[in-house]
């Protein structure tokens, strides 16, 4: 569905050097990205600010011209075949609206029908579906400027889907939304992804989006892909460790050691062990139970935030 | 008591600090400055040719060299005086940010005036000197023959800036009552184009019309007054009278702006923004 090879985008930035001189520098916002996405996949695109997420998305949707590299989306080349491509994709920019600010929400949907030239019955069916799923009914006669951000985002999602796009691009779709609206958007996208006829590509800062929605995770940093795979693969690759935390009734007589287990910290009667690369918790728990009486025990899964933070930190120093 | 006597110098220092902040702020808008400079020069050429064709050797109180100088000086004054510049007050009223201005220990009119004078200072260096330099290279300008004209012109230009500031402050303060300043701004844009002597010196108009404009409106005092001072259209005494008239208008406009601000503040306080 989507294929890129050696995708690159350079910007010229001029920075002030000293009092009067300016220096022009070429910066690669996207620096050689190879990506392949199959029909029906849901892909989360993750990276710190300025990593090149939005730039990539804008090249995939035909907004920006790549400096180098090849792109194919739905078998089309985005910039030269922009309008053809536009009929087959939907785009939601978290901070750019497709809706008519001063008109009722319904009018925006009607205008988009004309823009995408969707036959009226098909449009009506699709709209009814979205209105139901996103609970838009009461909002249709309301001018967009009077909608809350969460309500508007539900409108934006509908607007992007009315022409039944093959690929839906979402750039920070949950940014700035309150908890309830975030849930609604995620719920809707989960259902959409499950149906399997729409390919979903979303960039986000919010890891909860990723964990809820995407099996596949692409992490970019400094314009390069640093990870492409599932969250589990990410953990195993970057050695994120599960932990066993125990609270004891009395101190251990002698330390418990096992291959693949490392004591991370001991604070009073609370001990934290790290399990290295796939070691099971069972053996450790059994040994601990034999050595002392346990008051409490927990196995803590690694947090994706930690892995990603470590990944970025590494990129920054490397 | 000691505090009291220190009051004046502190205020003076605040004013200077605000002026220099305004100067620095505008010195960073390089792209816009360059674009504006280019356009001033372009219009300078055009108006020179047109007014030369109208005036010929001499007409309406100007000879050819005077009218050419008049054109380039007035092009240089547009940005310096800030004829079309925005103070940002209307936007701050609309967004409610103006409350932050009211919380500061300096009165808003004072703070905005300082910032605008800083802006004018930077504009004088680039947007005034630039067009006049180009005009001098391309045409035979008439330099002042009385040495006293130079300092008098500087005073006249500063006063013109203050009058323009007062007009723009009033225009934008209208947003306290009208929500935005679009309407007053359009009226201001119109008057600042047609009635300041930018397109034609007001002496081209029928005497009575010109007299009404000079006596009843601030517009001729913004551009035509300083331009007439520098081309020495009047005697030394006449020039002094012109500058005195500007001082009167400057004082009046500042007083009216301050009054409008007080009314606006009261309205803001009563209605809670």
């Amino acid at each position: 569905m989507i294929e890129t090879a050696g995708l690159r985008k350079e910007f010229v930035v001029s920075a002030k050097v000293g009092k009067l001189r300016r220096e022009r520098r070429v910066v690669a916002a996207v620096d050689g990205i190879d990506l392949r996405v199959e029909r029906g996949e849901t892909l989360g695109y993750l990276g710190p600010n300025g990593a090149g997420k939005s730039t990539t998305l804008k090249m995939l949707t035909g907004v920006l011209t790549p400096t180098a590299g090849r792109i194919s989306v739905c078998g089309l080349t985005p910039v030269p075949q922009r309008t053809q491509l536009a009929r087959r994709i939907g785009v939601v920019f978290g901070q750019r609206s497709q809706l008519w600010w001063d008109l009722p929400l319904r009018d925006s949907f009607d205008l988009l029908r004309h823009i995408y030239r969707v036959p009226a019955p098909e449009h009506a069916g699709r709209l009814a579906e979205c209105v139901e799923l996103l609970d838009l009914g009461p909002l249709l006669p309301v001018p967009v400027r009077q909608l809350s951000l969460g309500q508007r985002m539900r409108g934006e999602l509908t607007a992007a889907l009315l022409h039944r796009p093959e690929v839906l691009f979402l750039d920070e779709p949950t940014i700035g939304l309150d908890v309830v609206s975030k849930q609604a958007v995620r719920e809707f996208l989960t259902q959409l992804g499950r149906r399997g006829d729409t390919t979903l590509i979303l960039t986000t800062h919010d890891l909860a989006d990723i964990e809820r929605l995407c099996r596949r995770l692409v992490i970019v940093d400094h314009g390069r892909v640093v990870h492409d795979g599932t969250a589990e693969e990410l953990h195993s690759r970057y050695g994120s460790r599960r932990r066993v935390v125990v609270d004891l009734d009395e101190p251990l007589a002698e330390p418990v050691t096992l291959p693949g287990v490392a004591l991370e910290s001991a604070e009073g009667l609370r001990l934290t062990y790290q399990l290295v690369d796939g070691t099971n918790a069972g053996a450790l728990v059994a040994r601990l139970a034999a050595a002392a009486s346990l008051r409490d025990l927990a196995v803590v899964e690694p947090a994706i935030e930690d892995v990603i933070a470590r990944l970025y930190a590494r990129g920054a120093t490397g | 008591m000691a505090n009291h006597s220190a009051g004046a110098p502190v205020r003076y220092r605040t004013f200077i600090a605000l002026v220099s902040a305004g100067f620095r702020r505008y010195s960073t808008y390089r792209q816009a400055t360059l674009a504006g400079l280019f356009t001033n020069v372009l219009f300078g050429f055009m108006r020179t040719y047109v007014l030369l064709a109208v005036v010929g050797r001499q007409a309406a109180g100007y000879d050819a060299r005077q009218i050419v100088t008049y054109v380039w000086v007035s092009q240089g004054l547009i940005a310096t005086v800030g004829l079309w510049g925005e103070l940002g007050l209307a936007d701050r009223i609309r967004t409610g940010d103006v409350v932050a201005d009211l919380l500061r220990p300096v009165p808003p009119v004072f703070a905005y005036l300082a910032a605008d004078l800083g802006r004018a200072g930077f504009a004088a260096l680039v947007r005034f000197v630039g067009p006049v330099l180009v005009g001098a290279l391309a045409f035979d300008l008439r330099w002042p023959q009385r040495p006293a004209t130079y300092p008098l012109f500087v005073v006249s230009a500063v006063l013109a800036t203050v009058i323009s500031f007062g007009c723009r402050y009033l225009t934008e303060a209208a947003a306290y009552w009208l929500l935005d300043a679009r309407g007053p701004r359009i009226v201001w844009a119109l008057c600042s184009n047609a009635l300041t002597g930018l397109v034609f010196p007001l002496s081209f108009l029928p005497g009575r019309v010109a007299a009404v404009l000079w006596t009843a409106t601030p517009f001729p005092w913004l551009l035509q007054a300083p331009a007439d001072v520098v081309v020495e259209r009047h005697s030394a005494g006449g020039a002094l009278v012109l500058v005195a008239g500007q001082a009167g208008w400057a004082g009046l406009m500042l007083a009216v702006a301050g009054y409008a601000q007080r009314l606006g503040t009261r309205r803001l306080v009563v209605q809670g923004g």
Partner: protein, 264 residues
């Protein structure tokens, strides 16, 4: 296709009609503005009896022709100068992902109906100018009287687009663009003979403003060109306009390709 844009246009008008007061104020304000260059000709003739060899009625015809052509262009393409705003807010991104041309979308979405007032006014002024100038009417001249302002409109429109596109490279170029568009209107409001040297060649012929009012007016008046140009130059206005439109289209496409979206 046309139908789609008509739907968009209606939506724009509907959206703007919600701000009645603003609309009224704008309409009144802009309608005064249009007269200034025509008024300036009236004022000039209080001081002089001829403007670079042309009597009032002829100079007035030129001014009215320039004003009318400009008003037409301003109605259709004047809002290109909002490109800067559209780039900065990222609105352009939203337009680029739709299956329509970006330029027509911008023109339609930022359409300002209040500019219609100017068109009507300047049309009246042009009609007065034509009547007062004492044109010796023939079918050919009648055709030219229609073609000339339309060509002028296309030329000004092309300049609006071409210099508006400069904002793709140079975001704060609005005043620079104004120099050529509003400057072009003022340039053509006065007889070409007023100007001289490089300035006349650059603006009159290089950018084509001589073909907005000067040459068509000469042809309408049946006057020989004091600058010794051939008589058929008055009929070249449509060709100049088409050439300018093509060039402007090229600059626009180049600009879109160069577009660097802002922010996230």
């Amino acid at each position: 296709m046309v139908e789609t844009y008509l739907h968009l246009l209606r939506a724009t008008v509907r959206a703007q009609s919600q701000y009645r007061l603003s609309f009224a104020v704008d309409a009144v304000g802009t309608s005064f503005g249009v007269l200034l260059d025509v008024v300036s000709v009236l004022v000039f003739f209080r001081v002089t009896r001829s403007l670079a060899g042309f009597p009032f009625r002829e100079a007035f015809l030129m001014a009215s022709l320039a004003t009318f052509g400009f008003a037409l262009a301003d109605l259709v393409a004047g809002n290109v100068d909002l490109l800067r705003f559209n780039v900065r807010t990222g609105r352009l991104d939203a337009l680029l992902v739709r299956p329509l041309g970006v330029l027509p979308q911008l023109l339609v979405l930022d359409f300002a109906p209040r500019r219609l007032g100017r068109v009507v006014e300047s049309l009246v002024v042009y009609a007065v100018g034509l009547g007062y100038a004492g044109v010796g009417w023939s079918p050919a001249r009648a055709l030219l009287a229609v073609l000339a302002p339309l060509s002028g409109g296309v030329l000004y429109g092309a300049l609006f687009v071409a210099f508006g596109s400069v904002a793709f490279w140079w975001i704060e170029s609005a005043e620079f663009a104004n120099g050529f568009t509003y400057g072009g209107r003022d340039f053509a409001a006065y007889p070409l003979t007023v100007y001289s040297g490089l300035f006349r060649r650059l603006f009159g012929y290089g950018l084509g403003f001589a073909f907005v009012s000067y040459y068509p007016a000469l042809a309408l008046l049946g006057r020989a060109d004091p600058l010794h140009g051939p008589d058929w130059l008055g009929w070249c206005a449509p060709l100049v306009a088409i050439a300018a439109a093509l060039a402007a289209g090229g600059v626009w496409r180049l600009g879109v390709r160069h577009y660097r979206s802002t922010g996230s």
